[in-house]
Symmetry: C2
Subunit: 347 residues, 2 copies
């Protein structure tokens, strides 16, 4: 009796279409049509049913809808990057693109475990996801799962795709060009490159772009220094570069922001001013690092959020039945100017 006024019965069973129909004195068929703007009925009938549904707090059961439509408005996101430097912005973009279409995302971390991967993929398929997005922490490595010949469309984002699949990756050569061209534009002449291990494909792509730009600008090319992706390696590299017998560089293009941070710290310890004496540019634009260096680090952003959004939208259109050509789509990077390279000479 007291609860008669409550708009939504709290803690009670969900109200079904049947309840609405009974309350409005029509059949479930009519109720369904009223709520979905289908079928023919008088405006009064339609409005009365709608009002009843509102009053009862009716929400259609997605499970039943999905079963019927054979479409769950759900996608699976597979990753092996638990502490996601890369996959997190990616997810953010993906999620962004999907929520607007009422699609929810199952997030699964498969680590490096094929068994876990298969488990998750099977679970997703059983739950009738509309599609799957695979993402990882490295462009040049596969996830430990086989996603070929699935019954649903698959998109790869920032991870190694199967042949004939659709993939989105950042354009590392483009990013490296942006970086080195920026240094050239600012008038630096002897530009060194300190980067990660040779086992990473991006190391080679960026190194080649680095060489190309230097040649195009008539500047001397020195061999990239390969090491690890760490601050410590940035430190060491400065010793190589500035203690060696060869001519000292006046700028350093770093393979990631952590290396750049190591380089900047080492330069400061040597009494060299950044950007007064030496220009430094990073890669990744990891804000937590780039904004903590002194001075703040100019860096290359891989636009991972945008990349994720593209991946999400493409998956959606695939699910909608629109075909898309297989292949790897490289998305451009973006230069983020802070203070570590100095100001334009024409300023």
């Amino acid at each position: 009796m007291a609860s008669d006024d409550l708009p939504v019965p709290v803690f009670s069973k969900p109200v079904t279409l049947r309840d609405v129909a009974a309350e409005a004195g029509v059949s479930v068929a009519t109720a369904s049509k009223a709520l979905n703007d289908q079928g023919r009925m008088t405006a009064e009938t339609r409005e009365r049913i709608r009002e009843t549904a509102r009053r009862l707090g009716f929400r259609p059961n997605s499970l039943a809808q999905s079963l019927l439509r054979r479409r769950s408005f759900t996608v699976g996101l597979l990753t092996n990057d638990t502490y996601g430097r890369f996959s997190l912005p990616l997810m953010s973009g993906i999620s962004d693109a999907l929520v607007d279409n009422g699609v929810s995302v199952f997030l699964c971390n498969v680590e490096e475990d094929p068994r876990l991967g298969q488990l998750h993929v099977d679970a997703m398929l059983d739950k009738r996801v509309d599609g799957i997005i695979a993402t990882g922490k490295r462009i040049d490595r596969h996830l430990p799962v086989d996603l070929s010949n699935l019954r649903v469309p698959v998109i790869y984002a920032f991870t190694q795709p199967d042949p004939d699949a659709i993939a989105f990756v950042s354009d590392d050569a483009d990013g490296a060009r942006l970086a080195v061209e920026h240094l050239c534009r600012l008038g630096w002449k002897r530009i060194a490159h300190v980067t990660g291990p040779a086992s990473f494909a991006v190391v080679h792509a960026r190194a080649q772009a680095y060489r190309d730009v230097l040649v195009e600008n008539g500047l001397p090319v020195t061999e990239p220094l390969l090491g690890s992706w760490s601050e410590a390696w940035g430190h060491q590299a400065v010793a190589h570069l500035f203690d060696g017998k060869s001519e000292r560089p006046d700028a350093v293009f770093c393979g990631n922001d952590q290396i750049a941070r190591g380089v900047i710290d080492a330069l400061r310890e040597r009494g060299l001013n950044v950007p007064g004496d030496v220009g430094v540019i990073g890669f990744d634009n990891w804000e937590i690092v780039a904004e903590a260096t002194r001075p703040p680090l100019t860096s290359i952003d891989m636009n991972l959020v945008a990349l994720g959004r593209e991946a999400g939208l493409t998956l959606l259109s695939l699910v909608g039945g629109k075909p898309a050509a297989p292949g790897i789509r490289k998305l451009p990077c973006r230069l983020v100017v802070r203070q570590s390279c100095g100001h334009p000479l024409d300023g």
Copy 2:
């Protein structure tokens, strides 16, 4: 004809129980019972049906099962911590606890937007999640959503709970005790505390524990220095501490690892050796930072993965109908010794 040998028909419609039943020459009811170890039938019949299911690659449609059981083996994870320093390890633990029970996780980032929050919660409820876990980036802030009086159980992890809800948080006082006691044990006498802004509840909890431990050990208490959670503040704080007229500290308990990094860098720039002259301890155990400081940073780990696992398991038991007492459960922290505090004196 050629495809007769294929174990799983690729790219075809999913095989249903009806298909299995037809192929095995029994009714769907019998087929269901055979596969679920229910009902009575001859061992041969059961095995024949099973074999048929295997051969056809049958996988039950979760949507249909969920509809019937009113249980979807799905939970929602709500967060507002997109670039998840804290919520990511948490998720890892949650996911860990749940996958073993065949439960998938919907991940939703609600940012700070109540509208987005409501959207996601409604979507989850429509999809009949078994329960919801709310997590965030601050223990003392609510998510921008109202999760009271939902039809499903809710657990809060590392975020401000509703009254009478179940919540898991890290025990910040415990963590601070561990840190300061560690410094005391190593023989440091004048221990300063540099931490974040007063608007954070954890700042006060940790500061109080800091004072308590110093008093217990008969050491002088100085007022904590409140600032921001940044490296830059760590730098500044060292100036305050070492340029002031008051006696200089010989150890610093920092509110997070970034502050600690700023402190260590500033000390080095002053020619002070860590841990020779000054001991430094951090909080959070953010490995990317803690391992890059020179020397590597001793820190307090909040055990977020374990916290997430607890949250996941508790939600599961709630879903299973076992009641649990409301309230906030504080989980202990863990000391991670690296090199920034020096070695035990008795070593």
